[in-house]
Symmetry: C2
DNA sequence: TTGAAAGCGCTAACAC
DNA sequence: GTGTTAGCGCTTTCAA
């Protein structure tokens, strides 16, 4: 069964008694056509419910006016902000956004990049799991911007983890803690590595001890093992790979009768929806995820217009949101 | 600046020493080409990094192998499940998913439908705010499936609110409550109307009183006003339009020293991420949002293949998840 | 089994 | 200011 028939530019041209090219101009170069003809053409188009066929435009121009955003897990609230920001940025630039879920799987990510490549003008890759080399190869075919992943030669938007981790360490130090335990996430996570590196450096600077446990599943479910390890180690302050893990940790701590923040302070990363209403509300490092998404789209759009040799890396500020899960060291 | 050059079918044909049509066949009708030629062609294509241009295919066939999913608010965790399910369904059918955020705005939704129409094979509209008539008009041009919205003549996937609301009322009745207060969401919300209608009917059946307050903003922020109204009315059980509102209500109740569930029981709708870790964990009606997304995609895909006169309405079961926010009536 | 040629809807280059 | 024409990359007749 054929798709419903839509009015084409020829239909409009015939109905308006002009050439197809005039209809085309009326839409794309309104200035280059007589005001009267244009209005007439637009009226006829409206009446016929005509809308230009993007596929045909794309074929001619090589531009699809479409961007793809690939995220590891659409349901992860962290990416909701990135998606929202990218959506907003794309809409502002008159671009369509295609969304892809890579299921945290590099192979799936590579396949999507390959398959979507010819259909889009560029990619925003959020928390990409692809090796640097593969990213660069993909960037030869399509403009790419990375979110929370830095690869030399590619446009990147990253959170300022150096400042962020220092804020966390300063906060814990000011509460009298002498050491912290980092509950790590997936080993391949670029931002996970940056978080730990930053914490470690800041802790050393401040004379705090810092230990890393894990890797744990960066989800509620990963919290039990992480919390048990932290308890066994006698930690007074734990910093989790992300908020979901942090909340999972607090759930387990409560289950085991450990008071937060009385016995243990808990800090997360991301400031997701829910960090404000979990129990106790979570102290966490807020990233500007929406802005990151929007900026990444901008970066790709800019590269579409003029290929840059040295695309920029943008560092977005981070801010520690102190809630009730962190408090003075016990004793 | 022109987009990067990609290998075209002609490049592959030239490199393989065959005609373009043979390359085309090697990809689309593998059976109709000599095994040797095909393998050779595919090898050359692989080497050149060739991938068929979807825009060109779409132009010829009128099929884009792309579906659009429109949601009122991407960041709302409720829609994360729908998105995930739709994404999965689309991937399974070899379709690309385009995502659009309508910002809860009917005009924006209409514009997206219009603009995306020629670029996609069909739409999944989640919690559409469009009037029935407009939906039907859009359905003349593109196959459409609705999620949690029923419009005669269109394919719909809806949650079983009749059963769901009965489960809620039965649960409250079994706890000894004599009446409930419904804290309503947006007046245009189809599912909001269904929820209230169901609660009301079930309450009457069970001999419980049921009152509706609102409308409130269906978000954390709407909770304060809603909670205050419930307190003023002396409610022992409140059912909120959705989980975000319910959690917002609990936050305000805690602030005002009202114990949940000691003084007031709170029930939500949606079972979002966070309903399990808010304080206290929320009793809520779980919908199968992922399945809804996947089924809706299936429904659209089926209509693409053969236009049906009477597309089906699918009702998905709902299940009350009892957590600690609901308890025996006080006194 | 394969090649040549036409055409999908649109835009741009070139006439007039 | 507007019409004519060619061609974007691909699939699909139609011949061979």
């Amino acid at each position: 069964m054929p798709p419903r028939k839509r009015a084409t530019i020829t239909d409009v041209a015939a109905a308006a008694g002009v050439a197809a090219s005039t209809v085309s101009r009326a839409f794309t170069h309104p200035g280059r056509v007589n005001v009267h003809t244009r209005e007439h053409v637009l009226a006829v188009a409206e009446e016929l419910g005509y809308a230009p066929n993007p596929a045909a435009r794309a074929l001619e121009s090589g531009r699809t006016r479409t961007l793809a955003l690939l995220v590891p897990d659409i349901t992860n609230p962290y990416f909701a902000g990135v998606i929202k920001g990218a959506e907003r940025g794309a809409a502002a630039a008159g671009l369509t956004l295609v969304l892809g879920d890579t299921a945290e799987n590099p192979a799936q990510e590579a396949q999507l990049v390959r398959r979507l490549g010819p259909a889009v003008d560029g990619f925003v890759l959020s928390a990409s799991r692809l090796p640097d080399e593969e990213l660069r190869r993909a960037a030869d075919l399509n403009p790419i911007a990375l979110v929370n992943r830095a690869t030399p030669g590619l446009a990147c938007v990253v959170a300022d983890f150096d400042s962020g981790t220092r804020q966390i360490v300063d906060h814990l130090a000011s509460l009298g803690h002498h050491s912290l335990v980092f509950l790590g996430g997936p080993p391949e996570s670029w931002s996970g590595a940056r978080r730990w590196a930053g914490l470690r450096a800041a802790a050393e600077e401040r004379g705090l001890g810092a230990t890393r446990f894990g890797p744990y599943v960066p989800a509620l479910a990963g919290g039990a093992a992480a919390a048990d390890a932290a308890i066994a180690a006698g930690a007074t302050a734990v910093v989790a790979h992300n908020d979901m893990l942090a909340i999972g940790v607090m759930l387990r701590l409560a289950e085991r009768g450990v008071d937060v923040p009385g016995d243990v302070s808990v800090v997360g990363f991301d400031n997701i929806v829910g960090a404000d209403f979990c129990n106790p509300p979570l102290t966490t490092l807020a990233e500007r995820t929406e802005e990151a998404g929007a900026r990444a789209v901008e970066a790709v759009a800019a590269q579409v217009l003029s290929r840059t040799d040295d695309p920029p890396t943008r560092v977005l500020p981070t801010q520690l949101v102190v809630r009730r899960s962190s408090g003075p060291v016990p004793g």
